[in-house]
């Protein structure tokens, strides 16, 4: 089944996400070659902060790495990929492309609200492309990140 253009403009969210300090540290550990969590790790996260978390500013709540957007902004894309109305074959689906535009940084304690819109639904050859554009704003109403998430399904 090919993706239908009538789904263009379909919206997902808003999804609310509280950026917790432990969540940010776990993400930094998982992507930093270390062990997340507070049980089977060899050193408390504070003992070896990843260089990109230090960020050169010692003040204020923990600064999340830009890559943390993969956690709080993914939900509209994930929901669209599994949306029965769209009917993509998730077993043949791969994450094909990704783009982020970073605006306001994220700190522990932030409340992030993400909405998404289908901005491309296209069949090309035997491939289906589904693109979801997301926007995340923080508790101050400031844009945090804009994401463009593209799934490719081989038919």
């Amino acid at each position: 089944m090919s993706v239908d253009r009538r789904h263009l403009g379909r919206r997902y969210g808003p999804y609310r996400f509280e950026a917790g300090r432990e969540s940010i540290l776990d993400f930094a550990a998982a992507t930093g070659g270390r062990v997340p969590g507070r049980v089977f790790q060899n050193a408390p996260p504070a003992a070896s902060p990843p260089p990109h978390l230090a960020g050169g500013d010692g003040a204020g709540p923990l600064l999340a790495p830009p890559s943390y957007a993969a956690v709080f902004a993914i939900q509209p894309f994930a929901t669209a990929c599994a949306d029965p109305e769209i009917g993509l074959n998730v077993l043949r689906l791969v994450h094909g492309e990704q783009a982020f535009e970073f605006h306001e940084p994220v700190r522990a304690g932030d409340t992030l609200v993400t909405t998404g819109t289908i901005t491309r639904a296209q069949e090309r050859g035997n491939l289906d492309f589904l693109e979801v554009t997301t926007e995340t704003v923080n508790q101050h109403g400031r844009l945090v990140v804009r994401g463009v998430w593209t799934a490719i399904v081989r038919n």
Binding site: F27, H52, S67, A70
Partner: protein, 160 residues
Amino acid sequence: MTRRVVVPACTAAAPRVKASAREREPMRRFTVGDTFEWVREVDPYRPVYYAGASGDYNPIHIDQVVGRAAGYDGVILQGMCTFSWLTDACVSYLGDPTSLKRLRARFTKPVQVGDVIRFQGRCVAVDGPRIRLEIEATNQAGEEVLKGAVADAVAAEARS
């Protein structure tokens, strides 16, 4: 200049992370032709750790049976974990994580357990505070796992 940060995969002992001196430099200079390198190994637990930390528990990332049914040798790593490594590679060069403004890439080959992914970046343009980086990401066989990876940054000291 070339800077290398190699972080071995590790489940039993915390690997040493070679923090760059650049993070502590008050002023940073970016020059066209600068290169940087970032290496990550996919140890067997990495997809599970990433699943826990990100919330992406798609069975294709945590269950070998599902991974094989989908045509892979076992589980595959979450694409966004690879993308996060790409982000970190850029930040390792830039120093200030908030200077990264845009990043994009296409995923061209699945990353599997046992792979060693090498990110090789190059500063291709500097225009005042604006910096453009291009990054290649290859596995141990030299195959590109990402294509078209481009980052745009604005150097911190030039921002208001």
